[in-house]
Amino acid sequence: MTHLRRSFFITKYLKPWVLRLTGKAGWATTLHALPGGIAPASHKALSLQQKIIRMPSGELGLPAQLILPLRQHLGPDSALVVSVGDYVYKNQLIAAANGEKGVGLHAPSSGYISSINYALLPMNEAHDPERSWQQALNRHQTAIVIDTDGKHAVQPGLLAANCDWRVRSPDELRQAVFDAGICGMGGAGFPTAIKLGASAIKTLIINGAECEPFITADEALMREHAAEVIEGALIIQRICGAQSCVIGIEADKYQAIDAIQGVINQIMSELQPANAGQAGLSLTLIPPIYPSGGEKQLIRIMTGIQVASGKRPVEVGVLCHSVATARAVYKAVSAGEPLTSRITTLTGHALKTAVNVEVMIGTPVSHLLDFAGVQHAQLQRVLVGGPLMGYEASDLDTPVLKTSNCLLAGSELDIAPAVTQSKPHRDCIRCDFCATVCPVKLQPQTLYFAARHQHHDASVENGLFDCIECGACAVVCPSHIPLVNYYREEKAVIRTGNDTAQQAYWQSLFEKHQQRLSVNAIDQQQRKLDKLQHKLEAIAVGEPLTKTALTKTPVPPVVAPTASKSTEQIKQEIEAAVARTRAKKAELQKKNDATQDADK
């Protein structure tokens, strides 16, 4: 533990100074300290040895099937616009954005749609049915399955509007981003077009701080496509109207820093010397601490602004986009290409070659693992995402989504064996290590006890929903408690259990139904009363009782039983019936009033 603390003390405080003294770029701006954070072993060199491999190439062929779930982003599911048996071309829209807040989905390659069915999202299986937060997440999703034909054909006659983005209006550019179906590619999948629609943005931060171990997708992207990233950043800056655009990169990504700095220098030298100061494009190096790449964390490090709980960064005038999103925006605007591929890291010690690949959205995980030469004997678990924030792939046919930045085929070297029922974690000893490393300054052990004992109110009071699930607390926990699992479960439980809107709606429907039934019953009694009253009146007038016009039953031909009774007797019987019905009605009325009072 002391070793760990010392190591992150060094990375956090000393390394920036050392780098500043050595005159590296980017240290001119003041940085702000992030509370907590850890410096885990990065393992990034594994997948950085090779260049990015593009998907439809000699080395990496197209998969036979592409599986495209309709929900890959936050917000409403996309709406299908194709049906089974259709032929779709590459880049054709297959699911339209559902309203303003939606995101469209495009076909990554050409082929026939073989089925539209349910596919699993790459999420954890529940290992314990009692603890079923995963089940809440692990719903079957509607997914479009395309049988690729290998032609990779673009729709004939479809020409991209290929004009310079500098002459197009911000609204036009934003529409282009919306049409391309781009959502945040860093992990959460927030629709980019909504973020870009925010007004009064002062600072644009391009997030190149890829702080999680093993993942190198953004680093490889910056290394090889720096110009596209910067261009994308400038487009985003034009759309949102930010005065300055800062690219934040962790200080240990030397090649990426060189590439980005080179492009920035080139752009600056092309500008007139008078305007050079106004372009507001700069690079900032940030200390390599996990989780400096979280949106709010990065904003805090670079600007010192703490985004309040429950607020979004755009509300304080800061917009944050990842470099992958910036490149997707560049492709969407300059070439009219929708988001159909992304760079994903294939890594882990269970693979023969760890490499970054530019894969199509919807490629099954198994196809990529086969390409990278997975050694099944060593394979412990496959995580979608990094070792700290990733989810376990529920089966190997789950697709790569717009948000999947890493596939980690972990051996025992990479991933600690899961806590199971046969091997439970140990008890919390209240050592407080977790509180020291929490980047949001929460008290993880308090949250843990609240989650464990299902004290939902206590969880919410202690800021459960401010937890960014970075997993730093679980890493330093000496009892090996999978703290983040508890928080995720608790969040899911609170969210599903607190689907109170729906439940309250059903409750109100039920109450209305009951109300209607009781009113109906009272009405029925009233009708009976009226009928009897009518009979009494008839007797009073002296009409013959055989003429019971009010009853629907046909008058029996023989009226002997009625005739045998005297009029007085009949009158008494009717009056008794009236009294009975009145009593019943009063009782129902009382009951109805009582329920109404109880509701109030």
Binding site: A79, H455, Q507
Partner: protein, 187 residues
């Protein structure tokens, strides 16, 4: 020695004194029947809020609120199949009772489903409308009926009364099927 004894005695006196005070206070409050009745209503409401509000009646009571009332009178808390283990856990936490497994004689905990009427087979008998506890079925005598998807709680109560067996319980994601209907319209 004496000082220790004194300390023990003083503490013991305090303990018993406060215990007696608490007992008195409890009795004073307990005598207040109005307070009790109010507490019961709040208790029923908070139990009712924990129940899933499907109004399916699988517990043997005609709806969630009646079951909540029954629980407040001491009924078993494990009779709600739609709520499942999660609801039992929450009610147990509320009432300070031990967590018990679901009583499967009332039904199994299944994923949420939604009723769907095969409309071309519907004869318009209105029996399902009468059975629906939340009025989620619309229709008129001898006219086709249909389910309001947003209102349906998936309680299964409409399936049995249907004389022509034209009601299916479908898994929830089928809800997106209406999107494929618009597809056909769009083409």
């Amino acid at each position: 020695m004496i000082s220790m004894l004194a300390a023990v005695l003083v503490l013991a006196a305090l303990v018993f004194g406060f215990a007696w005070l608490m007992l008195r206070a409890e009795r004073l409050l307990g005598a207040d029947e109005l307070h009790n009745a109010k507490a019961t209503v709040t208790l029923i409401n908070s139990i009712n809020n924990l129940l899933p509000q499907t109004q399916c009646g699988q517990c043997g009571f005609p709806g969630c609120r009646p079951y909540a009332e029954a629980i407040s009178r001491g009924e078993n808390i494990n009779r709600c199949p739609p709520g499942g283990a999660h609801t039992i856990k929450r009610i147990a936490a509320l009432l300070d009772l031990p967590v018990v497994p679901l009583d499967t004689s009332h039904g199994w905990h299944l994923p949420k489903r939604i009723a769907s009427i095969r409309e071309h087979e519907c004869i318009g008998c209105t029996k399902c409308i009468q059975a629906c506890p939340v009025d989620a079925i619309v229709g008129a005598p001898k006219r086709m009926h249909t389910v309001i998807v947003a209102d349906c709680t998936g309680c299964d109560l409409c399936v049995d009364p249907c004389p022509v067996d034209c009601i299916d319980m479908l898994p929830l994601p089928i809800m997106s099927a209406h999107a494929s209907v618009t597809v056909v319209v769009q083409k």
